[in-house]
Amino acid sequence: MNKRRPSTLRLAWKLLTRDWRAGELTVLASALLVAVAAMTGVAFLTDRVGQAVEMRAAESLAADLRLDSTRPISDDYAALATANGLRSAHLSSMPSVVFDGEANTLAAIRAVTAGYPLRGRLKTSERLLGEVEVTDTIPAPGEAWAAPRLLARLGADTGAEIEVGGTTLRVTRVLDFRPDEGWSFVDLAPTLLINDADLGATELVQPGSRVSYRMLFAGQRDAVDAFKDLLDARLAEGERLRDIQDTNPQIRSSMERAGRFLNLASMVSVLLAAVAVAMAARRYSHRHRDRIALLKCMGASESTILRSNVWQLLILALVGGAVGSLLGFIAQLGLAWLMRDLIGQQLPAPGLAPAVLGMITALSVLAGFALPDLARMGKTPPLRVLRRDLDPPRLRYGASWLAGVAAVLALLLWIMRDTRLVLTIFAGATATFLALGITGALLVKALRGFRGAAGVAWRYGLANIARRGRESVVQVVAFGLGMMVLLLLSTVRTDLMTTWRQSLPENAPNQFLINIQPQEVQAMSAFLTGHDLAAPRFVPLVRARMTAINGEDVTQMTFEDPQGESWARRDANLSWSDTLQADNRIVAGTFWDPSFRGAEVSVEEEFGRELGLALGDEVAFDIAGETIAATVTSFRTVEWDSFSPNFFMVFAPGVLDAFPATYITSLHVEDARRDVVLDLMRQFPSVTAIDLDAVLGQVRDVMDKAALAVQAVFVFTLLAGLTVLWAAVQATRDERRYESAMLRTFGASKRRVLTGVAAEFLAIGLLAGILAATGATLAGFLLAENLFDLEYHFSLQLWLAGPLLGMLFVGLSGMAATWRVITHAPVNVLRAA
């Protein structure tokens, strides 16, 4: 026979394929497949839904990328965009008074080129309050499309000939919606959309006129990213790039929350599946101690065994990664298909990145959680072939699991790129694990007390739990963990999702009224009440310019964050209040008492960070030539998606009261009663109404899509939870089968064996259920309070469902696992052992 250097890869391959055929790898491979499929399924789906959400967000920019400038934008940019495979369009806007005969009003003229908007679509109607249609064109030269507010102010409708600067344009349609409507205090005047070809004739572009130029870009994501980097390097003074990250804070806030839900769901899936992999690997290596001893006895060295095991894991990871990714892809296709009506639009095709992620997941999970056990197997003494009680040295689980945890932590940090979220969840998971472990051990110990009080079968069952000690704790924890996630998913998830949706109720404010004079506040209140609309809260607003921070002139200061610099250079809207608004939360410092009067200011957290502010800093403002100063005493987070009037800077009463203020408010007006708003504007001509329905619709849409994705993603988490349960049942299956066969051999009746097994599993199920309910309650509470800023509702169902579900599920699966012993002759089991 020819001998050559033995190939451990060949050996590994043979052992692995034979194990696979003999069903030895089923649990491990299934756990791995669930891990990878969960990860990639989530990644594929979130990739696609994320793209859809981004597209929706891009609509509010009317582009993927927008270049803003105070000077005309060079056509070189357009050429550059074309060369990079992007589409582009020009948009020039300026305020101008337009005339319809004698009537006149201030309008925001927006001159656009063909293709505008690059993302999203315009909606127009033939006349005021007419039927709204979607259009893909822009006004033809000589024509203009006017916003309803503009026509209301002019008392005109379509067909009107409007003087715009040096030319006259015919209003052919009502512009009901443009995707980049957004809302800001800068953009107050109603829109008149005209063709860029008419811009010259209007003669509005003169030296010194307030024209802002924009160029819009859109295309494939990669191309846009590359182009953004390219532009960043070339930006001239006065030019600024905006991408979808800079879109409306309402949509961003909503997307961030959705992102947290999705990330949480996929993280939990991976962690759970990793636990299942660890349990399956443990069983696999446990079952293979004899094989290792035999191989060593036949001359395999420890390093050969180790290399062979590493190869086996590598092959398993590659195959598992590929098949799991494929499963993830198919599952995601199915989910997308199921949700097709709800999504209401074609999802973009997924990228390939999730498949790579699948491979990396498989490798990390196996390397982290299966390798330590398999590596330890290499240390099985060969003498075990003669003395079966000889085991490999005990695995130091603390150290080896640390490796696994580190591997998965690194993976998750890499995927999520959200250190705070990952670390929070990880700390939570570790605490949960420890708490479950300690409580599990205590419960198992407590069970010993009941042994004397039960019948023979029960005594045997309970004695088994106590005898297995460590194993029982592991099982209780595994079952508890699996069920805890199921409970969290079934009850807390619904609570969280409902609460989340409730944060944007049906009657969320959809109209912002600004520029309300102090003397108009009462009259407007009366007007609204008279029209059966609830009198809203009027919030004062004072325009000011920041002059100094801690005595240093802001125009001379350099800011780390360019956004901070732009805040410091432009007019700010200040407000004051004696109480903290309900949708605000203090994150640092303290908010003043309602009776307090003094020079203090509460700053929105992100705004403060961009300006580099800290507690105790003094900020000074110039208001109509007078300087005021206040000390920063707190930082707040603001739920921008609540659609209530909110301010970056809120002063304590007593500082701004003396200055001329206007008031703003927000209210909800039913679609059918929009004429009230038109009436209101006629009665209070200086007041400006801003229609938020479009933005509101966008936020709702984002929320709905995200909620849907989250629900779908939880399906994977559910599967991962079930795999943990399965692995837990399998973990002691061999031992149980053997013991039951022994009992039968000694003459125990089928019924007695069954009752004993049932007693053991029911007790484990009960303990696990109690743990799961406790864990789910705590986890739900902590998640709601800390991560999602939602209010948590205690659920009694959970405490009923936990123990019941535990007893039912664990009891049934345990009995199913040992059923063969009872229905087959015990000799078969003993012989196979």
């Binding site: 026979m1 020819n2 050559r4 036949m298 001359g299 060295s301 060969p382 003669l386 078969n828």
Partner: protein, 238 residues
């Protein structure tokens, strides 16, 4: 005891002053006490004794599966006790075959795959045909694709014998090879074992309770309390 001499078979296995102590709750426990022996090439040696006499410990040490507390062992020209675990493993791969009381077939492998395993470990090219030949020799070709749980005890032990001989070992260690078999099956298995031993010229060291079985060997070592109390050989009688 024999020594190697010209015109005589060479010593293939030699142990010198072997002792083995283990720790126990009552302090150190000596389970093997200064045992020395020589085994010649092609010889068959039975180690007999009551439970706890130290038979299996001695077998484990001779086969290089365990290390003695003191003393030295040579297998062929190599001193096992001077090798590390990897060195001992390489030596086992090259020179040693095993048959165990509990068969130690791998449950996930078919009969023929179990026989192929040691060949595959040593990187032998034609593991398949060689294993088939071995399976044929033990008369189990029709059952070569059966898994261990589908075989009877006797069949399992025949597979184990095929597996032990397929690597053409210079020494075959057998630990109670009939311990798990009924008398008739045990005899058939032993017939096979001795036939293959004779055919291949392999040296056989076996541990057994069974005096009938022991008597078929060239030499019997009687152990008690960790020592070789006496020995007898077929030529010398008991």
């Amino acid at each position: 005891m024999s020594t190697s001499q010209d015109n005589h078979p060479q010593t293939v296995l030699k142990a010198q002053e072997l002792s083995k102590q283990v720790s126990s709750p009552e302090g150190p426990l000596t389970i093997l006490d200064r045992v020395s022996l020589d085994v010649r090439e092609g010889e068959s040696v039975a180690i007999v004794g009551a439970s706890g006499a130290g038979k299996s410990t001695l077998l484990g040490l001779l086969a290089g599966l365990d290390v003695p507390s003191s003393g030295r062992i040579w297998l062929g020209a190599a001193e096992i006790t001077a090798l590390d675990e990897d060195g001992r493993a390489a030596l086992r791969a090259d020179k040693v075959g095993f048959v165990f009381q509990s068969f130690h077939l791998l449950a996930s492998l078919t009969a023929i795959e179990n026989v192929m395993l040691p060949l595959e470990l040593t990187g032998t090219d034609d593991a398949g045909p060689a294993a088939l030949q071995a399976i044929r020799t033990v008369g189990l070709e029709p059952r070569k694709r059966h898994y261990p749980h589908q075989l009877s005890g006797g069949e399992k032990q025949r597979v184990a014998i095929a597996r032990a001989f397929v690597v053409q070992p210079s020494v075959l260690f057998a630990d109670e090879p009939t311990g798990n078999l009924d008398k008739r099956t045990g005899e058939a298995v032993i017939d096979l074992l001795f036939k293959m031993n004779a055919d291949t010229g392999t040296t056989l060291v076996l541990v057994t309770h069974d005096l009938d079985l022991a008597e078929r060997c060239d030499r019997i070592l009687f152990m008690d309390a960790g020592r070789i109390e006496r020995e007898s050989s077929r030529s010398a009688g008991h």
